[in-house]
């Protein structure tokens, strides 16, 4: 079986204005909704209480909310979580409440609605921890990007390829953040881990394409750069699509079977992998071309060395 029985020759470079426009639009929507609405930060970052209760009978959400308010909980958010009998309760951080008291109070309040109800999971995060996690998440993101920039600068001797790779790498986490801003899906610590993994994976594709560009330039020094870039992308296309299809299979399995804990994580991965595949095919090489990439840049000293070896 083969997706591409003959070598494809899609004109990626000639059509790059279309892809630039598409990316620009996606970026604007992502950044716009990120700054306008923000992402729905989980208690990992905000502090507060997150609990999961299972009821014996399907409860009335409004009633649960009213009872919780009556029991002295401020602004409780009550949602269905998994099946209709599983309820997720979220409370903002309250300095007056001690972590110790919350469980008992919550259990009492929930049992008053339904004697068979059980608190299955209870997370209480102090505001100081939340703030710290926010800082360390940003730190992790910063260090990963820095590490990758250094690696790219070291690996590809020309800034034209580096810039292409960096813009493609930035492109993907922004789209993931945009997805979280638009969908208002809960953004937790695991989603940050997923974004970091996405940065790694997305660059992985770009690197494979660039590796091929280098190889092609070595063989056809005279060919025009846009032809070489098109050939390189087309030749690695089968691999890029294959790998991503297979990775998507496992991520979709996680998304639908892994349960609510892994929902944000797998959603971030899926969006990131799709964005990463797109950006490494359509964006990274096109940027390098627009920066004036030629064979000269990839092999600056080889020409002289090659001449020396001529008889």
């Amino acid at each position: 079986m083969e997706f591409f029985s003959h070598q494809t020759s899609y004109p990626f470079m000639a059509t790059r204005k279309v892809w630039y426009t598409l990316s620009a639009l996606l970026m604007i929507v992502s950044l716009g909704s990120f700054f306008a609405r923000g992402v729905n930060l989980a208690i990992d970052f905000t502090g507060g209480v997150s609990a999961q209760a299972t009821f014996a009978q399907i409860p009335d959400l409004d009633q649960v909310r009213t009872r919780l308010v009556a029991a002295g909980f401020r602004e409780p958010s009550v949602q269905v979580f998994g099946s209709a009998r599983d309820i997720a309760i979220r409370l903002p951080p309250d300095p007056k409440q001690t972590a110790g008291g919350i469980r008992t109070e919550l259990e009492t309040a929930v049992r008053a609605i339904d004697p068979g109800a059980q608190v299955m999971q209870l997370d209480v995060v102090g505001p100081q921890v939340g703030n710290e996690l926010k800082v360390s998440a940003i730190e992790a993101l910063g260090f990963t990007l820095l590490g990758i920039f250094l690696y790219i600068a070291f690996r590809f001797h020309t800034w034209r390829l580096s810039l292409g790779a960096i813009l493609a790498v930035l492109h993907d986490p922004i789209l993931v953040l945009g997805f979280f801003a638009v969908s208002q899906m809960s953004f937790d610590l695991a989603a940050v881990a997923a974004i970091l993994a996405v940065i790694g994976y997305s660059l992985n594709d770009t690197v494979v394409v660039f590796d091929r560009i280098r190889e092609r330039f070595e063989g056809n020094r005279r060919s025009p750069p846009d032809v070489v870039l098109d050939q390189s992308i087309n030749q690695t296309l089968s691999r890029t699509i294959m790998t991503k299809v297979v990775t998507s299979i496992v991520v979709v399995a996680l998304l639908f079977l892994g349960g609510p804990v892994l929902k944000g994580f797998s959603a971030a991965l899926l969006i990131g992998i799709i964005a990463g595949t797109y950006s490494s095919i359509y964006i990274s090489s096109a940027i390098a071309l627009d920066c004036g990439l030629t064979a000269e840049h990839v092999f600056p000293t080889v020409k002289k060395a090659a001449l020396d070896h001529l008889p």
Binding site: Q121, G126, F143, R212, S238, V252, L262
Partner: protein, 624 residues
Amino acid sequence: MLEYARWKYLLVAAVLLLALVLALPNVFGEDPALQVARKDHGAVTPDAEQQVESFLKTHGVRFEKGYIDQERLMVRFAAVPDQLAARDAVNGNEDFKNTYITAVSFAPRTPEVLRALGLKPMPLGLDLRGGLYLLYQVDVNSAISQALEGYATDVRRVLTSANVPFRDVAAGAGGQADAIRVQLAPGADVSAARSALNQPLQGLAITTSSDGAGPVIEAVMTTAQIRERQDYAIQQNITTLRNRVNELGVSEPIVQRQGVDRINVQLPGVQNSAEVKDILGRVATLEFRLEDMQNSAVEAEQLGRAPLGSKLYTHTRIGRPILLKREVIATGDQLTNATSGQSQEGPAVNVRLDARAGDNMLRTTRANLNKRMAVVLIEKRPETVEIDGKQVTREVTDEDVINDATIRGVFSNNFQITGLQAGEARELALLLRSGSLATPLILIEERAVGPSLGRENIAKGVTALIVGMAGVFLFMALYYQTFGLVADLVLLANVVLLAALLSLWHQVLSLPGIAGILLTVGMAVDANVLIYERIREEIRKGVSPQAAIRAGFEKAFSAIADSNITTLIAGVVLWVLGTGPIRGFAVVLTLGIATSMFTSLMGSRALLTLMYGGRRKLVSLAIG
């Protein structure tokens, strides 16, 4: 012809065999178990094991197997009712109850042979087995101010006895949280003051100056001293928490430092967080008191009351009833340090008190040479009880005599407790420290997962793992035919290798960890795809099948190495900066990259060479 060096075959075979053995403990599952540990933290001996086992047999409790693991006895059962019956039987026996702490838990069904080799399955995280996670913050600043208060007390005493007039000794004065300021009276002898202060303020940076009110001496704690003090405070709290966690009878608890000033406590299987937090949040102190040697403790125990001026302690850590005088010589907040060490008479505990307690100790020891002195550990904890349907919180005090020893010389604030075994000395130093003035602990994070939710999480994780892997395997076999099957074998080997490494290093497996394993499978495909696509390309160019395989591996190498390094960077950052489950994910991601490089570059090449290398008339490859 396609060849592959013999040593490479051997390496691949050896690594895979080793991985199979290391990963093997994970497939046996778990049984309900009862953990029996000694209350005094000593090792459970094989004799004691015999004793407990025959006790269970005579009580008609059926059990599968008993064995000693890390100084504790583990007894495995076929079913939970047997486990609970055994716990009730052991706790119902007065002798056992006084000697042992029992905890119900789960024990791996790993065969004897593997356990003897030290092979264990990956421990499961709290999200998979249920339990309680608590994160405490230690108020390290209060540890510093306590130390400064201690210095200030010493300074006042030394200056008074040296007859140097002073107006004020203030700790943390003048906006400097790490300094004490001594305001001497006008015309006071500054050099006499300085030389008197040398001993109590040893190691501090001392400066002298003078202001309108007279000469001023300032002493600042150095960075190293502050750090030492903070570390001591954290260590002391960890010790205290560990002791209390042990009392809870939880199996495999974790109490560890996290960052600069945090301690995390993980209690698998614990549900009732209120009770746990009561016990962990206790306030402890110590009392040094003289033993009442005129009266008999045994007699007092029989009478049920103590003589006037004394107090009777019956169930004590020292193993006998004891009568102690009511006067207190020194208390826990006066203890500044207790460390275990060596003396001429073997292991010892070095105790250091503050100056005031030192004076008291000097007077007492002078008058009571060769009498006995004991140390009582007193812990107060809030306990919530239900009275007439109302929740009432009251304070409960637990007292225990942790040591008694003969006064063999006259001493003041610096002395040794000797005549101990090595383990006892460490234990006593820890206990003494847990009773010294504790730095406040603040609970800042709590996460509880019910056991049924844990089971649900495991089921979901495993289902996702199986379905995801099956999908990948099927897809690869369809797309690359025979080569796809080879890739499937290689992927399977990769999972085994990964599980082996995780088990070997006892990495806790959490739900994100399972996701990491699945993701590794997805990404490990990449290396195979790179190689196979390259082989297809070579074949299209008209290269012979065997040459195509060789070229495929060789030309794909740089792309594989490059692309893995990028993921590695993200993995390592997460590993270093992440905590808890995120770290679990990062560990799997990072190790997975290493194992997938090995299996797809060496493993699959060995297999393909074995399959195609020897065939002379190979016309085509089944690569789809």
